[in-house]
């Protein structure tokens, strides 16, 4: 009960802070009319909502991947899916500067789907079924391949290098109402589907044979989780660019806060992800006030440090 109250309070505080504080021109709740009201409605509110839904999508996707592969180190950015989606979006942006909306989403989904297929293929090569920890190395290789291609594209397109690099850092600034629906619709779709996966994911923790005995098919569950994650990641990458590491840190923190029970963990962890990104966006504005710092930098630094800590700590990676 108390935890729930604290959670709601933090959520309200986060939204309030992101909407009203740490902006170059600050105003309060009371003078929300006229021009300030317009700024609020057209700029700040969509940005806060994009932060929330992007964070929630990445958190959900990370949770699905971590539960289905039973590997606490895995996340869409480490497995290279982020990198493949962003490569395709970059290539698409280079070819057609003004594309927005569904075409970007399509390119992004194609990229993440291709990344998933390559992951499977290369993992099969390295016999990942026998050595499950190798999926991380496979994912890292895929990530390196895709990001080298992305670098190539960015370097070759000299006119747009600056804006592309800025986009690649992953940020939520400057998002408008038009782009929100391409984030919210996939999120709502995937979230409702994942509610059906709560029981099977709980069962998956017990091992594949137990899952079969309980009546679920483990490979189908994994495939479903992966597909949902791919859709979520592609939605986030198409709107905000690759937000590094959110899919890794947030599930870990959520597990510490809410326990291991999927019934509570999945929905609450998702909300916690949204909360996390709202706070990250708010605090990232303090780094170079009054200039914008893309929130992807903050999440990359925090996530990188946390990933390092996790890989050094024993009995986490089961390697």
């Amino acid at each position: 009960m108390i935890k729930g109250l604290v959670f709601v309070l933090l959520l309200v505080l986060g939204f309030y802070g992101d909407l009203f504080w740490a902006h170059p021109t600050s105003f309060g709740w009371s003078d929300l009319s006229g021009m300030e009201g317009e700024i609020f409605k057209q700029i700040r509110l969509p940005r806060a909502l994009v932060s929330f839904f992007a964070g929630a999508s990445m958190a959900l996707s990370g949770q699905l991947i971590q539960s289905s592969t039973r590997n606490p180190l895995s996340s869409p950015s480490i497995l290279g899916i982020n990198a493949s989606a962003s490569f395709f979006v970059c290539a698409y942006l280079v070819m057609d500067k003004q594309s927005k909306g569904i075409s970007l989403l399509g390119a992004s989904f194609f990229g993440s789907f291709l990344g998933g297929c390559l992951l499977f293929l290369m993992g099969h090569f390295v016999e990942v079924k026998k050595y499950p920890e190798r999926i991380i190395l496979v994912g890292v290789c895929l990530g390196i391949m895709m990001s080298s291609l992305t670098n190539l594209v960015v370097i070759l397109d000299e006119n747009n290098t600056q804006s592309l690099v800025y986009w690649l850092l992953g940020g939520v600034d400057g998002k408008t109402w038009a782009e929100i629906k391409w984030l919210v619709i996939p999120f709502v779709f995937c979230f409702s589907f994942s509610l059906f996966l709560i029981r099977p994911l709980d069962a998956l923790k017990l091992g594949d044979e137990m899952v079969l005995m309980l009546g679920y098919h483990p490979q189908k569950i994994r495939l479903f989780c992966l597909l949902l994650s791919l859709l979520l990641v592609s939605a986030v990458v198409a709107t905000c660019g690759p937000l590094a590491f959110l899919g890794l840190i947030v599930p870990h923190l959520a597990r510490k806060l809410f326990g291991e029970d999927m019934k509570k963990l999945l929905p609450l962890g998702t909300l916690f992800g949204g909360l996390f990104l709202i706070y990250a966006d708010w605090f990232s504005r303090y780094i170079q006030f009054p200039y914008e710092t893309p929130v992807g930098i903050l999440s990359g630094l925090l996530g990188g440090a946390y990933f390092l800590y996790l890989s050094i700590k024993e009995n986490v990676a089961n390697v």
Partner: protein, 337 residues
């Protein structure tokens, strides 16, 4: 059981011949101009290097750079692999190169008022810090080789985020910074390469003084001490040398990925487990890899030039997985799995 290998002499001669051939091919190919074999012969033996602009100023420095960077990276890779006793140990995977390039980028973007020899120095400091951390971790018994690679990857990712932070804070010279970060051989003249060439020869030849002692690193620590060798000084010296080699390479062209990992592995496959044979062979193979990567980058889509680092990363990553797979199969065959 064990497949019949060529004798070491034959392998060496074959690699050397293909190296000479590749050098000549590399001189000939490229996007800017077409030269016949006659002209190239003339150029090489005419006595002066200024006789031909494209060959002398554009292509020859790049080829010379391959010949410098290759043995540097290969030596560093072989030394790291022996030190960490891990076939996946190499300065790029273990994050040493990224720590060095982080310091290098901060020098380029923020401290360019200092004299230019500060660049190799800063890269070296970053690389040494990371190398010490990795070395410390690898001596802990509880860390398996895959986990060491994952830790190295974590360090690499952390420093890459730091580099991104730096780039975003100072966005005026993004293009230069990014090109440097992908490992590019572009734009070096013969004059700039003089000092690095001499330094590189020094660094590459130094391991050959202790090469007989280096073989002893195959064994574990107690055995080495039992054989009467001074364990910590050997290890520290070799670590220093490895970081020196890779920092010089990184400071010249930025981090070129995967060569330091693959060249020693290929050399190990072509000959037996003797460092006296692996080190020179790996150096030659790395030059071969770099010549081909550079040549491909220049010739695939003329006049576009793909940086060498991009080619090596793109082709090297699946090759690295292929090596993992082979290691897997070999272990199965020998009954270790």
């Amino acid at each position: 059981m064990f497949k019949k290998r060529m004798s070491f002499k034959m392998t060496f001669i074959m690699v050397f011949c293909s190296l000479v051939l590749s050098t000549l091919l590399s001189l000939k190919s490229g996007g800017v101009g077409h030269f016949s074999w006659n002209e190239i012969y003339h150029f090489l033996f005419s006595g002066t290097l200024e006789s031909n602009f494209v060959l002398g100023e554009l292509r020859l420095p790049r080829i010379l750079l391959c010949w410098i960077i290759g043995p540097l990276l290969a030596t560093s890779g072989v030394l790291f692999q022996s030190l960490t006793k891990n076939p996946l140990g190499s300065p790029d995977i273990l994050g040493v190169n990224s720590a060095g390039s982080f310091m290098g980028i901060s020098f380029i973007l923020y401290f360019s008022f200092l004299p230019s020899w500060f660049l190799p120095l800063s890269v070296f400091m970053g690389g040494l810090f990371c190398g010490l951390v990795i070395y410390f971790l690898s001596t802990t018994k509880k860390i398996s080789s895959t986990r060491l690679a994952i830790i190295g990857v974590a360090i690499h990712i952390l420093f890459s985020s730091l580099i991104q932070l730096l780039i975003s804070l100072k966005s005026l010279e993004i293009q230069t910074a990014l090109t440097w970060l992908s490992g590019s051989f572009w734009g070096k003249g013969m004059e700039e390469l003089r000092w690095p060439f001499l330094l590189a020869i020094g660094f590459i030849l130094t391991p050959y003084f202790f090469i007989k002692k280096m073989n002893v690193l195959i064994f574990d620590d107690e055995t080495i001490v039992g054989l009467g060798e001074n364990l910590s000084s050997i290890k520290f010296l070799l670590l220093l040398l490895a970081v020196l080699c890779s920092s010089l390479a990184v400071s010249l062209t930025g981090p070129v990925g995967f060569v330091a990992l693959l060249a020693p592995q290929i050399a190990r496959n072509l000959t037996d487990n003797n460092i006296q044979k692996i080190l020179p062979l790996a150096s030659l193979i790395s030059v071969l890899l770099l010549l081909w990567a550079d040549g491909l980058g220049r010739s695939l889509f003329p006049p576009l030039e793909i940086p060498v680092g991009v080619v090596t990363c793109f082709l090297g990553a699946p090759f690295f997985l292929f090596i993992l797979m082979r290691k897997n199969r070999l272990e199965k065959r020998r009954g270790l799995v």
